[in-house]
């Protein structure tokens, strides 16, 4: 069924598959979180993963960026296939991610949180850093500048040096996004970026997601509860339910899919 249908996305970058998830199964001590999930993500598209609570959406992301290691299955990224990757490897390959329940570094301010997303690109050794001379100092300044562009992009100039803990929820979500963007990812995984936001905050976040997708040509994999949002901005949607894939296709196709309707759209969300 939907699994084999390949809806083409005329408006966004071709059909080149950048990320291919093959028959992933994951379980915690016998409890099955994911069962034989397969789907692919195309260059430059916005790919949504939806499903009721506990459908295994977050677990899926955690498999993709190496936080969990699936018992079975493999993930193909840019043609290379892996059955297990460390988060580091995934990060190095240009996959970034935001978290459902904020995972910011509470002890740091906005700049430092976003700066920490640059760590892969900062090379100077301990001694240079300790003396903060030459490359180390230059590095700090250069990456600070890059971070400032993100701050500007996310319109949080007024909060630069505020400890993230003191920011309202919506802004914290932006910082989380900012930290991910600091990695200049080619694929961006967003775990419920709009959860718990009010209407304006959602609109802003939507705008940012779309702008990221357009301005930086970033491929986006998005988990979201708010159906209207999903249907608006995503090119293709995967539907999970109890760890199984029950639908895959364009928003319209998914809307039609009876299984999906019964499992998800039927229930009030």
């Amino acid at each position: 069924m939907a699994e084999h249908s390949n809806p083409s996305t005329p408006e966004r970058g071709g059909n080149k598959v950048i990320l291919d998830v093959n028959n992933i199964s994951l379980s915690f001590g016998g409890v099955k979180a994911l069962t034989d999930i397969s789907f692919n993500v195309r260059e430059h598209e916005i790919r949504a993963i939806i499903g009721p609570n506990g459908a295994g959406k977050s677990s899926m992301l955690n498999c993709i960026n190496g936080v969990y290691t699936p018992q079975q299955g493999s993930i193909t990224f840019r043609g290379q296939t892996f059955s297990h990757m460390s988060p580091r490897q995934v990060a190095e390959m240009g996959v970034a991610r935001t978290f459902q329940n904020l995972a910011l570094f509470k002890g740091m301010n906005v700049i430092d949180n976003i700066m920490s997303g640059r760590n892969l690109k900062m090379k100077s050794n301990l001694f240079l850093q300790a003396l903060r001379i030459g490359p180390a100092a230059r590095e700090e300044a250069e990456h600070r500048e890059f971070v400032e562009h993100i701050i500007d992009f996310l319109e949080i100039q007024a909060f630069r040096k505020t400890p993230v803990g003191r920011l309202p929820y919506g802004l914290q979500k932006r910082v989380d996004l900012g930290r991910a963007l600091a990695m200049e990812p080619s694929v961006l995984l967003l775990d419920e970026p709009m959860a718990g936001m009010n209407v304006e905050e959602k609109q802003d976040m939507c705008r940012f997601v779309l702008e990221v997708n357009e301005e930086f040509a970033t491929t986006i994999v998005l988990i979201e509860h708010d159906m209207s949002v999903v249907m608006d901005i995503s090119d293709r949607v995967v539907v999970l339910d109890y760890g199984k894939k029950i639908g895959d296709g364009t928003p319209d196709e998914v809307r039609q899919n009876p299984e999906v309707i019964s499992a998800y759209l039927g229930t009030s969300h």
């Binding site: 915690f28 001590g29 936080v67 995972a103």
Partner: protein, 309 residues
């Protein structure tokens, strides 16, 4: 053969005592997620109380009956320990609910210092004796079996027996009594326990009281063996590796861990020690644990740690 068995038995017996103290740790950790570094201080405090009461009561009430004195002292000390435990729970830990383990550990470290200071201020800081009439003379086992038999210190033997009894009693208590069940429920999931109407605070106080009791018994035994003095509080440091080895959350773990380390350090002391210039029991337990942890981060019997995202 003989020497080996003797050390083995010696080890098992001191291991029993480790288990006893370790049990104190485990109970509290299971129930409230607190790694109670102050256990050692409580042992010292209890022992001091016991020892001094045993001196004071006869003097005050003017009777001269060792047994009576000990019994009264024990009861009084028990009362004191329950009070102390309760205060620790109320004044310190209940203020630190939902903090990370480390914070709680440091808090109990603070408590340790306080108790050490407080105990010695109240009861004095010389070396005191506890004489609960444990026979000091040695005895020989299996002298029929082979030449010379095994030399065993009776005192140690009794101590071990008492300890074992207490350990079993406690395990049973938590296995079969309703309080025990409630406690295990709490250990599994605070929210859930609360939702089915288990009063967390009451449970915690009980657990701390029990811990106090355990401390008292341990203190009493150790005290009668080595005399009551500041160094007594170091038994906690002995018991730490035991707890970790067994896995913080496991009662059987604590028991077995205690025996393993008790035996281990005795054997190593006797058979490896000389090569290294002796005195290695100080660190043997720790280094042993270190290697175990590298293989099993959650200890021998601890529950696996999965961090969710």
């Amino acid at each position: 053969m003989g020497p080996f068995l003797e050390t083995l038995i010696g080890g098992l017996m001191s291991g029993m005592l480790y288990s006893l103290v370790a049990l104190g740790f485990v109970l509290i950790f299971k129930a409230s997620g607190v790694f109670n570094f102050a256990q050692g201080a409580m042992v010292l405090f209890a022992a001091l109380a016991m020892a001094r009461f045993a001196e004071w009561f006869p003097a005050l009430l003017g009777f001269d009956n060792k047994v009576l004195a000990n019994v009264l002292a024990f009861v009084a000390a028990m009362a004191v320990m329950v009070a102390v435990a309760w205060l620790i729970e109320r004044l310190v830990l209940s203020k630190l609910v939902n903090q990370e383990g480390i914070t709680l550990l440091m808090a109990t470290l603070g408590v340790t210092y306080f108790l050490d200071g407080f105990g010695q201020t109240l009861f004095g800081s010389e070396i005191y004796k506890i004489d609960i009439g444990l026979p000091k003379d040695p005895m020989f086992l299996f002298d029929k079996v082979f030449e010379g038999g095994l030399l065993v210190n009776k005192e140690d033997l009794y101590a071990a027996v008492i300890a074992a009894a207490l350990v079993i009693a406690l395990s049973a208590f938590f296995q079969y009594t309703s309080t025990g069940r409630a406690l295990r429920a709490v250990a599994d999931d605070h929210q859930a326990a609360q939702s089915i109407g288990i009063p967390l605070n009451r449970i915690w106080v009980i657990v701390w009281a029990v811990a106090g009791f355990v401390a008292l018994v341990a203190g009493m035994i150790w005290g009668s063996k080595l005399g009551v003095q500041f160094s007594l509080s170091l038994v906690a440091l002995k018991a730490l590796p035991v707890v970790i080895l067994g896995g913080l959350t496991s009662v059987p773990g604590a028991i077995i861990g205690g025996l393993v380390i008790g035996v281990g350090e005795k054997l190593s002391e006797v058979f490896i020690g000389p090569m290294l210039g002796g005195g290695i029991e100080i660190w043997f337990g720790y280094v042993l644990v270190l290697f175990v942890l590298l293989v099993r981060p959650q200890g021998l019997f601890g529950e696996k740690i999965i961090d969710r995202v």
